[in-house]
């Protein structure tokens, strides 16, 4: 709790509190990042699961840079928003649930990435994702929806 109080009184937190429009701007950027991150991940996951077959699997996996840009925007704005309201977010159950979902989704994404790299381009080029990769894709889709849901619920507890 001391750490949370300290965070909330750092220069950054004070700047966000006292500068008009800072908080809504970060929140809006968080939504734009969300669209890139979750929009991109959904397209990749659904393509792995067999949606939109005219679009090559390799090209769709190539959308990952958008996902990363969205992730970086949201990690940055999310951290800033957290610092601003550390004492309330830090004890918010929906917030910690969101962090847990993100950690699992991140581990799952890492497993997917390893599967893509280890395959060389075998199943990617041949457009035949093995069943375990489809499990990763399904989990990813569901987990990111859980992240969004928990995030939305932070305002209500």
């Amino acid at each position: 709790m001391e750490l949370l109080v300290w965070l909330e009184h750092t220069g950054i937190a004070n700047a966000i509190r006292t500068t008009p429009w800072m908080y809504p701007t970060f929140e809006t950027l968080h939504y734009i990042g969300l669209s890139l991150l979750v929009g991109g991940i959904m397209l990749i996951d659904l393509r792995v699961l067999g949606f939109a077959r005219s679009l090559a699997l390799k090209s769709m996996i190539g959308l990952l840079p958008f996902v990363w840009v969205g992730f970086i925007i949201n990690a940055t704005t999310g951290t800033l928003l957290f610092i601003y309201g550390a004492t309330s977010f830090g004890v918010n159950r929906a917030f910690w649930l969101k962090m847990v979902f993100m950690a699992i989704a991140g581990a799952n994404a890492l497993a997917f990435d390893v599967a893509v790299r280890r395959a060389g381009s075998d199943w990617v080029g041949a457009d035949r994702p093995p069943p375990y990769v489809k499990v990763f894709a399904t989990l990813s889709f569901v987990l990111w929806l859980c992240v969004v849901t928990a995030g939305r619920w932070m305002a209500y507890r």
Binding site: P24, Y31, G39, L43, L55, A56, W153, Y156
Partner: protein, 158 residues
Amino acid sequence: MGFLEWLQNTPFGIWVGESLWAYPLFETMHTIGMAMVVGSLGLINLRVLGYKPELPILGTQQLLPLAWIGFTLNLVSGLTLFVSDAEHFWGSYTFRVKMVLIILGGINAALLGRRMFQEALPGAPPVVPTSGAKWIAATSLVFWFGAICAGRLIAYLP
């Protein structure tokens, strides 16, 4: 009593506003639908603008079902959220700006669909986007991201 006042005082409007989980549930639906619409239409628009030229333009039509699912989710959840506080939303300039941006985005999507997809004959050579189509794609991106910003700012601006 006006229509908007009646609307937000219907049992449904009161339930959405007062239930502990209804408002966040429909907000969550709205956020997920947003990611679906912007993800799918965003990729189509970027492709028209020349991104990932190896993707067949006509093939990007296969992303449209995702856009429609997202749009339907957002129409249903958006109307539901609107009903709970109809007078406030209707009176909000930011809300009106968001509605205009969505209508413009919809018109653009229909125009682009007509230019890129419907006029192409089966077996015809690959479609090359005209500068007109590229303008539509570029303005669409502005409209959809503008709608996200306006939507977020309804809570802060008059």
